[in-house]
Amino acid sequence: MRRESLLAALGAIGLVACAWAVPWLKFVLTIALAKGIAVLGILLLLRAGQVSFGHSMFLALGAYTVAFLAPSAPEVLLLLPLAGLLGAGLGLVLGLFLVRYRDIFFGMLNLAFAMVMYSLLEKLYALTKGTDGIRVARLTFAGLEPDRPTQEWIMFGIALGLAIGFGLLVRFYLASPMGRALAGIKTRETRLEFMGVPARRVLLAAYVLSALMGGVGGALIGMTTRHVTPQLAYWTSSGELVFIAILGGAGSALGPFLGATAFELVRVYAAAAVADAWQMILGGVLLVVILFAPGGIWGILARRRQA
């Protein structure tokens, strides 16, 4: 456990050093941290053995919250919690229905809701400007409006701070009885119920928390890219989140951030090297990880630690 904290601290310092040394990487790393926060939610559900193939809807909700409200309420410190709350609210409403289903049905129903959101964002042109997306208006930070480079640093800092905060939260959550019960859903749900633990409520709590983190991650993405499109909600975007969870390794709250950073870096460099085949390269990386390192990047690090 102490090694994990040490690694997290080293990772955070590494990220700051990278962002400082290579300024354009700051953008990539901020996005990676934001996605990592959303992937923490996937990790929670994976503990219960459930795969959500639709979590991009919370990402899109958070991002569009920022895009819609920025003209009237440009305050970042207000928008972030609001996006999280809206995410949690949607998660609660959908979760009440979704936690009755398991496995393929759980995954596909999540996918269905995400696709509904995607097509609403795409088709309600008057409101969302369709596939063109919306440009995010100017933002203020605690009432101030700093210049562009400072803003980038602030966004990076907020993303890093939130990543650490949510990472710790998820770590405590997984160690708590609620987290242990999640693992029980995976192994044998009926036994859990025999012990008097309401499995659906355990899953619902995790689902709402994961939706909240999805909303916050999405808001960070919207604030960083300054442009939101329905593509955020498309099912391939949900697939990416699950991809990152497995790439990083589902064994630790550090995994999502390892995975997200690796994912975004591979994407950036692959797209620069071979513009038409970056998806292919990412797919190849994913295959190699699954076939040869099923524990993900965290699994590799953890194994070395034991040896």
Binding site: I104, V242, L286
Partner: protein
Amino acid sequence: MADWFAENGLLLGLALLDGLAYAALVFMVAVGLNLVFGVLRIVNVAHGSLFAIGAYTAASIGIFFASRGLPPWMSYVALVLAAVAVGAVLGPLIEKLLLRRIYGHEDVLQLLVTFALFMILEDVQKLIWGVQPISQDTPLRFLGTVDVPFGEDVIPFTAYQLFVLPGVAVATLLALAWFLRRTLTGRVIVAVTTDKEAATAMGIDAARIMLLTFTFGAGLAALGGALASPTTALVPGVGAQTIVLSFAVVATAGLGQIEGAALTSLLIGLGRSIAVYFAPEFEVVVPYLIMVAVLLVRPQGLFGVIETRRV
């Protein structure tokens, strides 16, 4: 009500005809997905890519035939040829090189392997066929249009979409039902679906059945794509659209009977095309709304069987 029909009857008729043709295509993809899931226990995300590659291959062969001055009926040979080629080449390749390595792994990993495959195939497709729309509609023009009487009006509709697509889908359904229930290989496939361990204990070579089923399912997806290719211009993203729709069909139908997949395809195909004509904003949403509504009432799907709870 009567007024509404007088005003919109023609549109409704067109929506029904369109929906029927569309349902036929959806069925071809969904039934393969269902079959593969039944035997391999893997939700194949790349199934839609096989549909897309089947469509592109059919268009390419069709264009090649046309450039050689072959008669237009040969374009039908191109469709079948494309389906067989894609199924026979990609099916075994994917099963043997990839899927075979991950049987028995966690569901998430299996799902992601096919997701990775999907990403790779999407780019392969772009590298081979580019991003410009490709269209090859010889099979469609060859048969011309038919005037379908609808009340007092007639609707001109292409014979290809009216007869060929539903015809092939019904033939596939009947042939599949006969194959699975009456032939030895078919019964073995059903046995493996029901209980792989017991089937293996009876001396069934499950690995062979899995290879066979996957190849067959890939061929069905490719055939669906090939059949769809004359009706639309092919652009990247076709595979991604197809797969989410067939997911909806499979989840709505529940796992199991192929007749269930057929009826659900019809339900979703018609629902979608009615939306296309009357509420185009909700075109993409309708299949999922149907799915959610069905699962709300029947959590195991329309035709699924409830599994007993294990302690």
